[in-house]
């Protein structure tokens, strides 16, 4: 049994070596994609385009404006005397936030009276808008304390602590998801083409004449790809660590184990598709659609699953990347062990087993 599996694996490896382009694409593609998109993906809001309407023109108003500009989050794009041109600035997207300081602001501060500032913001991008508003509140809070020279004593103050990702940098959260996305797409496509290619060339017929049984053929054909995909995964994760500062707080061994489980599932899915399809083209289309869209949308990579409607949440349970991303974040960012992510790992094993059985059943029929 083992000998026959090995024989198939060696044959596949030899073939891959001759087709060095595919091999190279398999290993290099994930790294290249990560390199390109890793930089583009970010929810960290910066360079907020701020229009300033200073109707007060006093020392106090200038101090508030300075507080905004020195915070590092805002850049001033317009300096106006009255709020009317704001409409146009917002419509054109030249400004995405505006600070409107009323005429009596300076007098109010001097007289130590209660006063107001208006903060207009473009809400189209709700996520960015909430973040911007949070920054503005903080800045005004501390600027007010300084202007009125009072020490505020709110009844309850919070001492915020952020675990796992103290700077709340979104790339630490997104890059692991991106790694999963890329690995899923490349591994499914790699094997989706493997069996079909033999079908198209008619060499599957000659395999049928050998004493191989379906499962030996499948395992033998998958093994070399698992090797390649693991190399690609190791490359991507190293890049994530070296370039995007994604730490690995947990154990490398566990990380490797979960990654291999995930890759095996992806490759197995590709094998299953390969047994369904009659041509490389159909296999490729099936592989691309079934790996890319669900992993992009329903894995929690970008969009939080908990905010989706119930039906989509249920569907997301059959997306293997969902479990891998969750386990990946837990291992690299939180540094926790299997006691926390065992159910994710179990789900990956289950997915792998199911697709292996499906692929075997299908292949038996076609052999």
């Amino acid at each position: 049994m083992i000998r026959r599996v090995l024989a198939v694996a060696v044959k596949e490896l030899l073939q891959l070596r001759r087709d060095w382009r595919t091999t190279f694409a398999l290993v290099a593609m994930p790294v290249v994609l990560l390199l390109i998109y890793g930089f583009a993906l970010s929810f960290d809001v910066r360079d907020i385009r701020l229009a300033v309407v200073d109707q007060s023109r006093t020392r106090a108003s200038r101090e508030v404006i300075q507080a905004f500009l020195q915070s590092g989050y805002f850049v001033r794009v317009a300096d106006l005397d009255e709020p009317r041109p704001l409409d146009r600035l917002f419509d054109r997207g030249t400004a995405q936030a505006a600070l409107v300081i009323p005429a009596d602001f300076g007098a109010d501060v001097a007289g130590r009276r209660q006063t107001t500032l208006q903060f207009v913001l473009d809400g189209s991008d709700s996520q960015t808008a909430s973040t911007v508003l949070g920054y503005a509140r903080q800045i005004v809070g501390s600027a007010a304390a300084a202007l009125y020279d009072v020490e505020l004593k709110p009844p309850v103050v919070a001492r915020p602590l952020v675990w796992y990702n103290p700077d709340l940098s979104s790339s630490l959260f997104l890059v692991p998801g991106l790694v999963a996305f890329i690995l899923m797409v490349t591994s499914v496509i790699a094997t989706a083409l493997a069996v079909v290619r033999e079908k198209e060339r008619g060499t599957l017929e000659s395999l049928r004449a050998t004493p191989l049984i379906a499962i030996e053929l499948l395992v033998g054909k998958t093994a070399p790809y698992l090797l390649l995909a693991s190399a690609a995964a190791a490359g991507s994760l190293t890049l994530a660590w070296a370039l995007f500062d994604v730490p690995v707080h947990g154990s490398i061994v566990w990380l490797g184990l979960v990654t291999v489980l995930f890759l095996a599932g992806g490759l197995g899915w590709g094998m299953f598709l390969s047994s369904l399809a009659e041509s490389q083209q159909v296999a490729f289309q099936l592989g691309l659609l079934s790996s890319m869209l669900p992993t992009l949308l329903l894995s929690g990579f970008i969009f939080p699953i908990s905010s989706m409607p119930r039906a989509l949440q249920v569907i997301s349970h059959i997306v293997p990347a969902r479990y891998f991303i969750s386990a990946l974040r837990e291992i690299v960012l939180k540094g926790v062990g299997p006691e926390v992510w065992w159910n994710d790992a179990l789900a990956l094993v289950a997915f792998g087993a199911v697709v292996l059985v499906l692929a075997t059943v299908r292949t038996v029929r076609s052999l």
């Binding site: 929810f43 508030v64 004593k153 009844p155 952020v162 959260f173 926790v336």
Partner: protein
């Protein structure tokens, strides 16, 4: 002109005979839009909150109630000791933990600021950031009811999307993406299929000029794109209830240069590939993914490194997403959106020229 019409009629007939065309035209965009529209939301609702109340007084319970009453938090655990927080955050069952130390009521009664601790899970940066800022809001409310106000009151006014619903922002962009994928893929696949079948050769030996062939091939897919938009629009407006503040005419007008770009890209892809598989590979990895990631569809362009921001100017989808969001949410017209229109027109012409040169080379 007559020959052009002939080839148009031929293409339409051929397209009409394809059994897959009806589902592609009417069902695919609706399904895609519905699933994408629901899945693509960045709203963080009801952050999972674990509470560790070590004070156990009326005051501390009142504070906890403030958190749970605000629709931003969902209480998942009431812990007895602070050590348990580790477990809840580690496992991801809680995203934020509030600890109220013993002596909370006493501090407040004595008029001192009572300190509480908030621990946020940063591994989900979005939920963490929003959770902390929601919590800050709750504490400000507490201060407000105790008669304490900041001397400077910041009054926010949110334009275009006052309830900050991410769906209003995402769904129009999803529409743009679907239109791009459908027109680009269909065009490139159809053209490559002709090359594969060898029927392209037959067309080339007719007295038609390559330009006429190209136009004749692209116009049917422009119609397909138009039908897609028309089928998808009711879903956007009546199902997702995205407000349409601008004019549909402006939208229709600015859709044309965008389709010029996507159809041109389809043609370009077809000249770069020999098989449908290659066409799909190239259009996905070389054109589609970059457009999705670099158009500001999900990830705001302003957050990208400078170099990437420059690259986005060459992405047609970027302009069309701006157009859609502008027309839907801001209600602006051509007076604001003309640069986007011009940019798409320029890009479209450039792409078509490039594709035509490649097409000629292919024939030669």
């Amino acid at each position: 002109m007559r020959t052009l019409l002939n080839i148009l009629v031929k293409e339409l007939l051929q397209l009409g005979r394809d059994p897959r065309i009806l589902p592609i035209l009417f069902i695919a965009p609706v399904i895609q839009l519905t699933i994408l529209g629901y899945a693509a939301t960045t709203d963080v609702r009801r952050v999972e909150l674990a509470v560790c109340d070590l004070d156990r007084t009326a005051a501390s319970r009142d504070l906890v109630r403030r958190f749970t009453d605000s629709s931003y938090f969902r209480l998942v655990a009431n812990l007895d000791e602070q050590r348990s927080i580790d477990r809840w955050l580690d496992s991801g069952r809680a995203r934020i933990a509030l600890t109220i130390p013993a002596g909370h009521a006493a501090d407040r009664a004595a008029g001192r600021s009572a300190e509480v601790q908030l621990v946020a899970d940063g591994s989900d940066a979005m939920a963490g950031t929003l959770g902390l800022s929601y919590a800050q809001g709750v504490l400000e409310q507490v201060a407000g009811t105790n008669g304490l106000r900041l001397p400077v009151d910041l009054r926010p006014k949110v334009l275009y999307n006052p309830d900050l619903v991410s769906r209003n922002f995402m769904v129009p962009a999803v529409l743009a993406m679907i239109l791009m994928i459908m027109t680009m893929m269909l065009t490139s696949m159809a053209l490559v299929r002709e090359t594969e079948l060898g029927t392209m050769e037959q067309l080339l030996v007719t007295p038609l000029s390559p330009g006429a062939i190209i136009v004749g091939k692209l116009v049917p897919y422009a119609l397909v794109g138009t039908v897609e938009i028309l089928t998808a629009m009711p879903v956007v407006l009546f199902w997702f209830r995205v407000p349409l503040r601008g004019s549909l005419a402006v939208l229709a007008l600015l859709t044309m240069p965008f389709m010029l770009c996507t159809l041109g890209l389809g043609l370009l892809v077809s000249t770069l590939s020999r098989t449908q598989q290659q066409a799909m590979m190239i259009s996905t990895f070389v054109f589609m993914l970059p457009q999705i990631y670099l158009s500001g569809f999900v990830f705001p362009i302003q957050n990208m490194p400078r170099a990437f921001q420059v690259v986005t100017y060459a992405v047609p989808l970027r302009y069309y997403v701006e157009v859609l969001r502008g027309v839907f949410l801001k209600g602006v017209g051509l007076e604001v959106l003309w640069p986007q229109g011009l940019a798409m027109l320029g890009l479209g012409l450039a792409i078509l020229t490039l594709a035509r040169i490649r097409f000629r080379q292919r024939i030669g």
